[in-house]
Amino acid sequence: MDWESILSNTASWLISPETIAYALAALGLAVHFGYGGLLNFGMAGFMALGAYGYAISILTFGLPWWAGILVGMLASVVFAFILGIPTLRLRADYLAIVTIAAAEIVRLLFTTQVFDSVTNSADGLGNYHAGFRAANPFPEGTYGFGPWTYNANGWWVRVFGIGLLIIAALLVFLLMRSPWGRVLKGIREDEDAVRALGKNVFAYKMQALIVGGLFGALGGVVFALPSAVVPSVYVTSLTFFIWTILLLGGAATVFGPILGAVIFWVIMGFLSNVLPAMASSGLLPFMSTTQAATLRFILVGAALMLIVIFRPQGILGNKKELTFVKQ
């Protein structure tokens, strides 16, 4: 086995656009679930709206790239309102059902032939990079060292994504140390008690849904920046990968989702390199290299179960939270 290339490929995942995109979406989910107790199973829908909002604005309407990002964010706000108005007054489990269905509706709307002229249906969208790349402050060339050697465009996407992630993390930190965050955490524990203390619970839940949804949409944008927008990416399993990341890192933490995304993608990258290599060198009998590459998803599923059973508060979560069983 070629350990050098395996480790190098693994290390490159540390700051890949995918990692940054997932970290942003997981941070949004932390606002929803970790702090607000909102069971959002439709993060893929928010991400799809961000990505398609960006791509369609540029390709169909000829808007500049930054306006495309704003359109993606606006779309996620509208989506949050559509989801929230009927369901946030109900119990948390209803939101879960509605969000999972709504995200699928969003994906199917982007896939259907009806809007083919705009969405290019199942083939997805590409070639919208000109504006973003023109704004690249890095001069042409290849930079970096070791596994982190990219060309100017590669660095621009990463630096831009990390910048967004830092701003998002800072916002979450500022919000959650404030009395606003206290109300949100109170709602997570028992919304009737908070209502009895004179807080407009519905408004707070809606604000949290919008803020988290915005981070999800930005995640979708970062995901779309280097490559293309393909509807088959925004399936329910994407939502569950985000949930895995969130629970791995710690649901009610600022850095947990980021750490979780890095660990998730480094492990996924490692397994996708090492498992086929093991299969081809005969270490995994009964398995072809393609089968071995898919084995990582089984391992991720098993890891998710182990986390939830043995460390429900995640890597960075507060140990004390584990001491008390919630009713």
Binding site: L171, L174, L175, R177, S178, P179, W180, G181, R182, V183, K185, G186, R188, E189, D190, D192, A193, V194, R195, A196, L197, G198, K199, N200, V201, Q207, V211, K320, E321, T323, F324, K326
Partner: protein, 329 residues
Amino acid sequence: MSSNSSAQSPVKSTGLHIGDAAPGVAKVDPIIIADNVTRTFGGLKAVDVDHLEVPRGAITALIGPNGAGKTTLFNLLTGFDKPDTGTWTFDGKRLNGVPAFRVARMGQVRTFQLTKALGLLTVLENMKLGAQKQTGENMFSSLIKPLWTKQESEIEERAMEILARFKLDTKKDDFAASLSGGQRKLLEMARALMSSPKLVMLDEPMAGVNPALTQSLLDHILNLKQEGMSVLFVEHDMHMVRHIADWVIVMAEGRVVAEGDPHTVMEDPAVIDAYLGSHQDVDLGVVTGRISGEKTAEAEELLAEIDAEVGLTDSAAYSADPEKNEDTK
């Protein structure tokens, strides 16, 4: 603070009503006036109150058997449930159709029968949540700390003051989930006080509280009155009602069946019938034969009554013989 009130019997407020004490009697200075409030669950009329006034500056007890509609009435008055019909005012302002959080903002706060301490918030955070009109609770101003630090430290100071009164100040950094059941009741009451309410509504404040804490809870409720707040509470503990309530409202099957000062009300035959049971002096153990003892005339009378009722419903399954009754159950 009157820590000695436990030893003496509290000063009762009197002269609260106008005219004879009857269901729906007018009060000298009412804080809540409710008219024609009804709420049905399917075919069951849970609350059916024609007219009710709650006096200001006094401790009012709402008593009644299980299922009398006390908690439902509480939920209606606080906006947690919507009535089928009815209007009511709080402090002169119409309150029907007003959502629960606005009701609380007007100065009418409630606690819950099943304590709602916010488990994974610390005791101090629980307290701070109770304060009203916080700048930092607006999403946009929350981002800029200098806008709310001053108010936050004032709130913290007030919170510590109240916590000290409730002897919870040493627990300020503990998660509320780590408190005992009685301490959570205290915390919930303390949290409600953070909003400086005009009317405090306590739903079974004594349920599940150990006797050692009962006295301190009683003192806290009496203190609320001394500080000028009105209190309305639901309670099953008759000794407590007699001890601290200035006024008692009795509900049964959704209706107000009696009102008055505690001593008069508890001698009212309608109340005894509805709530205390007409044979409150009879030891049921003696009646059923579980405990050996002399059957008094009253016990014999009760036994005869039971026989008559049982005979009407199912004479085959029951007999007057207590041992056989045990077997059939």
